[in-house]
């Protein structure tokens, strides 16, 4: 039981507090607001003079914001930051394959539509 007591104490120590969870929640909320705000000033009803200038950066910025949110939830809420590395491995390796699949399918199908199918 000694071993367990240490593990438990360790876990207590390692687990973030409710305060940290709330802070992460706030950041997630702000980032989501940023996403929607970015949409509004680029394409939405609030699109102003800067809209055209923003357009080339719109997709990369949104993907970046989404990636940050993704990472925050995975690291803090899913505890990957302080949990065993194996869990991160079991999640991140498939994520890499998943990303490769999405990107290569987009490229291959775009080429196919543009050239092969068009003749």
């Amino acid at each position: 039981m000694d071993a367990h007591a240490t593990t438990s104490a360790h876990q207590e120590h390692a687990h973030p507090t409710a305060g940290l969870y709330a802070k992460v929640g706030l950041v997630l909320f702000v980032l989501t607001a940023l996403e929607v705000g970015l949409y509004e000033i680029t394409y939405g009803s609030h699109a102003g003079a800067s809209a055209e200038a923003l357009k080339p950066f719109f997709v990369p910025l949104l993907l970046l914001l989404s990636a940050v949110k993704f990472a925050l939830v995975a690291m803090f809420y899913m505890h990957l930051k302080q949990d065993h590395k194996l869990f991160s491995g079991v999640f991140v390796f498939p994520l890499i394959i998943a990303t490769v699949v999405i990107v290569s399918l987009m490229i291959l199908m775009a080429y196919h539509m543009a050239f092969a199918r068009a003749g």
Binding site: T7, Y21, V73, Y77
Partner: protein
């Protein structure tokens, strides 16, 4: 009973619990499930032969006018609900680990409420879109949109049922601290469903 559970936990080669590793493995596998669905949405993006379209208005050959289908305010609300539910479930788990039944029941209840609202939002959204002229087979956008968000919604629904079961368990005092893993597994699944939405939200709704 308690001693058994603890000892079993320490028994594995890695010291990690079998069930927790299993749910993570399952989540890893699910990454490829949603990657395939997202790929399917993206390769068909802009390939619909007829409207209505997600971001552009469309006038049919018969002269009927269709507004862009996607509506940002409603889905933003759903997105926020799902994000907050992630926060709530992690607070519920922390309550379960501390042995605070009140925190567990309260936060888990809040999570459930958010989840149910999200599903409700999606049901409303789907019926609303159908009324505005986008059926499942209307065009490729309709098919791939409903498929992607529908499979996500199914995952949320399963999560709601799972969490509701645990809430009843908690009410009966069946989730003491040494059994908090029961909730942790459901919570991990729930967070995963949330991060999938974190990807779907910009990719489907915001990026034109």
């Amino acid at each position: 009973m308690t001693a058994h559970a603890h000892a079993a936990h320490l028994e594995t080669s890695t010291g990690l619990d079998n069930r927790k590793l299993a749910i993570w493995t399952f989540i890893g596998s699910e990454c490829l499930f949603f990657a395939s669905l997202i790929s399917n949405y993206l390769v068909h993006k802009g390939r619909s032969l007829v409207g209505p379209f997600p971001h552009e208005p469309w006038t049919s050959p018969s002269g009927q006018h269709f507004e862009p289908i996607l509506e940002i305010p409603l889905v933003t609300l759903g997105t926020a609900l799902l994000l907050f539910s992630s926060l709530f479930v992690v607070l519920a788990l922390s309550g379960a680990q501390r042995g605070s039944r009140k925190a567990l029941l309260g936060w888990l209840g809040a999570t459930l409420a958010c989840g149910i609202f999200f599903v409700g939002m999606q049901v409303y959204e789907f019926t609303h879109f159908v009324h505005r002229g986008l059926g499942f087979t209307t065009n490729l956008f309709g098919s791939s949109f409903y498929t992607l968000t529908g499979f996500h919604g199914t995952h949320v629904t399963i999560g709601v049922i799972w969490l509701a079961t645990l809430w009843v368990d908690a009410l009966r005092g069946r989730i003491p601290p040494h059994k908090s893993l029961n909730l942790e597994m459901a919570a991990l699944y729930w967070h995963f469903v949330d991060v999938v939405w974190i990807v779907i939200f910009p990719v489907v709704y915001l990026i034109k």
